[in-house]
Symmetry: C2
Subunit: 420 residues, 2 copies
């Protein structure tokens, strides 16, 4: 539990102020394996939070694929290499419905930045619609979609944010669609036109309301009716996280024009992609070309390929479905007056807390996150007021780990201080 | 020399149209080591172009550092890790003059995108000045500085491009500064104010005119006089490329407020940074926080640290200076009626070609690039009309490699078809 203050001082001196850490006493992690992390004191933590180590921390097969390729060659995509083509054949085969062409990038933020321009190039319009409680990335253009970090000089007028669906207020796809239609009309009237609706099919950053299948279809239809595209941000739900499906858009019955992939794609190696239909990618390539020095490299391809190999050979989507369902049932059996809702899909869970008056209760969420940490389990918080416990473990999280998590969560809830 | 057309068809099918390759017949590279690359037919090429494999392709020490760290841990910066702090202590020590704090990213484009916002957050102004023959990266915000890929809807009004210095027209720092001052005044009058001048101290993408020391000082002074910042794009000149100095800004006698680092930093691993003075980074962090999932990771730190180790232990800056000077002298002794100018700095060279009438001659530059390739040497072209031969080999390029390059270049020039 030691975290020398000198280490935090060094961090502030080199990285600047306001650089977030997790927990009251930040963790100093030195080693990872599977679902487990070890800190500098040798204490072991069950990782129930991190989705980047999708097939498990330091998976030997992924590390070997990366290392072997790096020892052979790692150069850019202006030379031809089959690694990225083989990978994309396989990946686009998993996506289906004409999502056939890719712009490879290094980060989900870059993929999203490209996706916005793909939509603008394909439609000739510039207007963008997103929810008012989201985050899609950190470039200048993409932060314009985020409520939390508005740009210097204010949000640009071609971005319209609509009320985010909320689990507790009831989920009505037609109401959400009506807001989207209103935003689309405004963008058309102001001369921007509608380039795209950008949405995570799991509404992950919106608090994971776990919308029923088809919830987003009316909104997508509103945008596509006026010539706008649908951009699915699959950075969190993609690659089997939801268990029942490989992609969030499948669960929602959507046919996005563009999907953005990131975090889990390389198990920590910086690789991401914006994948679209041929006409959409062609419009972007014709307008911009686009070259990304480090992307589409042989090492990125080898690493991402190994992730797919492990996902398939270890049946991790199926594990997410089975382990996730059993764990959700156990979580739903837990009771505490502060719990407003417990929900999940695959290996992605939310437990929402409210005060006695029915308002969001971030104090409880924080106490649960810290209580879990004290019991050796890593979790996080989401929601407009950070009042929702977020669990999103590596996909190798099995029944034994689910047991440990359940026990720790039950104990944490039982030991919660009395919160109004 | 085989490049099955099916491979190019697969590439177009998966990556879309207009995705550039090098050479009339693109190369299919399978292996790299030091300054050498091997294609699918086993043919060996001397790499006199790539700056990303800064300490040599597949350097075993860099590969080992990356692999060993990946096998231990690769998680994000919301946990504390000393790797990135140790690295930044060392890196900022090399930069000096208060460039003490870093925002780590995965790509140079992301670093530049951050740098623009750093300047805007620190100054409260939004206006940006760059040259009219440059490229600083590929995000939406950064492409606004590029002449070649204007954004959909046109260049935003807060960006002003000034005439790029040109080697053949004569290099007068006061004239360049006068253009910058004019742009600054216009931005002030239009209410944007001046956030920053963004410039590569070697003017690499402007055609590497090799400005004399101090050339950029008057322009920097004009911007700083009105409260704007100086952003040095060190993605190409940084890390010793120029031989005489670790950084391009040192050679120019500049004190930038922000430097952006990228390509060579991780020898191909996606790592980059925007490094600024404490007040500038603080302003950015206060306004934006900024979190980049894959950046500042233990693997990024380990890999970038190994690059510094090799640079220092193999004395590669010194090699760039000595080998570069000798090679430049040999290149300057070569004569051909199409050569307008031969110049260089460290291991960075330009040979500019013109027609009999004194206009840029891209046909000759292309013929030289293809002629070198036919002789087993990889080079590229830059310049407003791609009429300048660009040589920018890995930093392990020694006297033996310089000999091979010189011979191939001499033979190529002698064998050039008669170009008007």
């Amino acid at each position: 539990m030691s975290m020398p203050s000198s280490l935090l001082q060094r961090r502030a001196a080199r990285l600047g102020p306001n650089v977030s850490t997790f927990y009251d006493t930040p963790l100093h992690i030195l080693r990872g394996e599977g679902c487990w992390l070890w800190d500098a004191d040798g204490r072991r933590y069950l990782d129930a939070y991190n989705n980047v180590p999708h097939v498990g921390h330091a998976h030997p097969r992924v590390v070997a694929a990366m290392s072997e390729q790096a020892a052979q060659l790692n150069t850019h995509s202006r030379y031809v290499h089959t690694g990225i083509l083989d990978y994309l054949d396989r990946l686009t085969g998993l996506l289906g419905h004409g999502l056939d062409q890719a712009v490879m990038t290094c980060t989900g933020s870059e993929a999203m930045d490209v996706a916005l321009r793909m939509a603008q190039a394909a439609t000739g319009a510039t207007g963008l619609i997103a929810t008012d409680n989201t985050y899609h990335g950190n470039t200048s253009a993409v932060t314009a979609l985020s409520t939390r970090r508005p740009p210097i000089g204010g949000r640009p007028p071609h971005v319209r944010l609509v009320p985010a669906p909320d689990a507790l207020s009831g989920l009505d796809g037609d109401i959400f669609a009506a807001h989207v239609a209103e935003a689309a009309t405004a963008l058309q009237e102001e001369g921007f036109g509608v380039a795209a609706l950008i949405v995570c099919p799991a509404l992950a950053n919106e608090g994971l309301p776990c919308p029923p299948a088809g919830f987003l279809q009316p909104a997508a239809a509103q945008v596509q009716k006026v010539g706008g595209l649908l951009i699915a941000d699959e950075i969190q739900p993609g690659f089997g996280r939801l268990g029942s499906h490989w992609w969030g858009f499948e669960q929602q019955g959507l046919r996005p024009d563009i999907v953005c992939l990131g975090k889990p794609m390389g198990n920590g190696y910086p690789v991401a992609a914006a994948i679209g239909t041929a006409p959409v990618v062609s419009a972007f390539r014709t307008a911009f070309g686009y070259f990304n020095t480090f992307a589409a490299s042989p090492v990125a391809a080898a690493t991402a390929t190994a992730v797919l190999d492990v996902l398939e050979e270890e049946n991790l989507r199926q594990n997410a479905e089975a382990t996730g369902a059993a764990l959700l049932a156990r979580m739903r059996s837990m009771h505490h007056p502060r719990i407003a809702d417990t929900r999940g899909h695959g290996l992605f869970f939310a437990m929402e807390f409210q005060t006695q008056e029915g308002t969001p209760c971030p104090v409880t969420a924080k106490a649960v996150v810290e209580g879990l940490k004290a019991r050796g389990v890593l979790a996080g918080a989401i929601g407009r007021q950070q009042h929702i416990l977020k669990l999103r473990p590596p996909m190798v999280f099995g029944p034994a780990e689910a047991d440990l998590l359940s026990t720790a969560l039950q104990e944490t809830l039982e030991a919660l201080p009395d919160v109004p």
